[in-house]
Amino acid sequence: MNSNIIWLVFTPLIGSAIAAILYRVKFLDRLVTFSTFAITLLLLFSVHVGQSYTFNLNFMGKIIPLSWNVTHLSIFMLYISVAFGTLLTFYSLMDKSRMKGFLLLLILAANNWIFTTNDMVGFFFAWELMGWASIVSVLGGRDENSSRHAALYYAMMSIAGSYSMFFGVFTLWKLTGSLSISTNVAYLSSIVGMHPWWVLGIVSLFFVTFMIKAGIFPFHTWVPMAYAYAPDTFTPFLSGVMSKYGIYGMLLFLPISLMEKGMPAAFGLPWVNYIFMWIGVTTAVVGTVLAFFQDDVKKLFAYSSFSNLGYIVAAISLFSSVGVTAGIYHAFNHLLFKGALFITLAAVISRTGTSKMSEMGGLWRKMPVTFFTFFIGIASAAGIPPFNGFGSKWLIYQAMIKQHLPFATVMLFLASTGAFMYLFKAFHSVFLGQRSARYDNVKEVPVVGQIVEYLLMFAMIFFGVQPGYILKPIGAIVSSMGLKPLPTMANGYVTGMFSNVYVPLISWSLAISFTVGFILFFISAKHKYVSQSDNYTAGQIPEEWNLTPETYQFSWKFYEPIEGIFAPFFRIKIDGFFRGLANWTAATSSAIKEIFVSNAQIYAFFAVAGLIIFVIAGWVA
């Protein structure tokens, strides 16, 4: 009966096979993808916390136990990821972009496997499946060359991550002889007092992988490219769901708290956590600053995602009850609003055919539903109550101040204010301002898309006003990690350490004040609507100066004045480091190759030696 867990993996695999067969038939392909997602979502209802299943795989005479275990965290992640995927595939039913359904289903299989597996072999295998499927998915973007380049870069980073994780898995297996994640984590926790450096080293191997996947500074360099050049309907999944795998992985290993185990502490935190927290804060700030100056709207939101993951990392690194709650809560909120934003962007890009912000503008009259979804999305992302981003940001500040970390908090606040700036830039450049004549025939997305947008709007408001529905399962996760959950009050309350916020009250207050405002608006003198060309031009006649909407729209170099402030910042070239590393590796490899090629005897010697080492390693293992 517990085998229904593995059906979570097999159903998408079967769906994927069907979709691959029907690949040429465009609509059926999408329909199969959507139905598989929906079926998986239905299957999820039969899965409960505490279920586990073990399957012994006989691999060349060796028994490899593959085990599944459903925890509070995994069921939470499963629900939000599959539900979002269902919405997304429903949206892409009508979409013309070149997203490949069977690859998305492969990712879904990997997704379900990662979130439920309890053995490292399965974890690693699923991780690889997810990685490669997503790399191939990135390939189908609008701009062939750029997306090929992006996918290549992403693949390189992924491979580096895989090596790191493989090494970690191998080491742990050597140490404990067990492949079970929970066993190994428990083992590490037990020896951390004696060998903190060993533990740190091993955990770092895993964390590098997770940080690469989540795109945490300094491993963020693939994020903007992959997000920007991936197919428009795949980016929401990439940003909303796939970045959370890294967070999930980190949450698996975080219980190895190094506190009270002889490690030195900084500001009441183990210094490893302290450094990790600062990595998160740096990520948030760097992402924000880089997002200011983008002209490609998808790239801007890619940096925004990167910045938001910094928030999550900073919060969970505190490993306090508020911190972890806030982190997971923000992961959920980020999935929701960033998914909504990327879906609206996909809608806009499919209608306008460009992702350059300077070439858009004034689309709000043409695409009102998309406009409002986007509006609520950026309000959420900016953390404005009563939308859903507020609670988690507020909790993150609470968690940080609880630890007496004012500077990190101020930096996060900078990232938040900055977020408001770049979000507004995108909002203005895409939807507000003057509409170019070439967009006069742009239409709203089809009904299917509108339904998805309405659902997302509803979700963003609902989970903002009623945070309890999401905070309760998070409370269960937090207590399963051995932390004290936040006190749960009525559904509308967000309870922090310093004060409480009752969000429905804010909503009522807003509702009443908006009513009053609109009453005032309608009882005062009449207004009439004018066209966008009837505008203040300092008295000059627009026609005399050949003024067109394009030449009366300001969106290029929106935040130029503060560029000077951040100019030193831009001189640091992170990808330069990686490029240098690649060059160095290439040079070294060619030197080694030189050895092999120049002398056959030496080549033979190395070959034999390698073989011997491999055989010995097999015996020892």
């Binding site: 009837d534 203040y536 008295g539 000059q540 006649i541």
Partner: protein
Amino acid sequence: MSEWKDLTNFFRGRSFWMLHYCTGCGAMELPPTMTSRWDMERFGVIPMATPRQADILLVTGYLSLKSLKRLIYTYEQMHAPKWVLGFGSCTINGGVYWDSYNVIERLDKYLPVDLYIAGCMPRPEAILDSFKKLRELVEKGEAKGYEKYVKNYEWYKANQDRVLKRTKPVLQKPEEVTRSA
């Protein structure tokens, strides 16, 4: 309902926002009127940057043809109720530029003027007095230039187009024109 109108007129008369548009040399007497010596803010009159925000349009002196075009555009961008103040003798009959080829002679033909201020240029006292006078007119509901403009729009438009959208030389001497070209 008439009480309500009286009330709005009372408030409108006490809060004239003036468009910051120096159309001519008469604008030279506006800075003293605005600033500490005469301080027109006492009467609720302040300069505003754009036509959307303004209530009164001060045509400070002569209007060249190019200016007239921009002035009309600006006037039409203003929100009703709006008032035009002809400022100085140039707006009344052309003033010293009565024989100039580029200066219009009577503002009344192109825009509805609610009040003229005589003089070249009118002193700040006269400007302040005009604001008071305009306030009285507004309170009595007599300053209705903006309604007149809407009602007689074709006539005004015809006058404007006659000077602004010329299609043939004004002085009918085509042979001279061809020679000079």
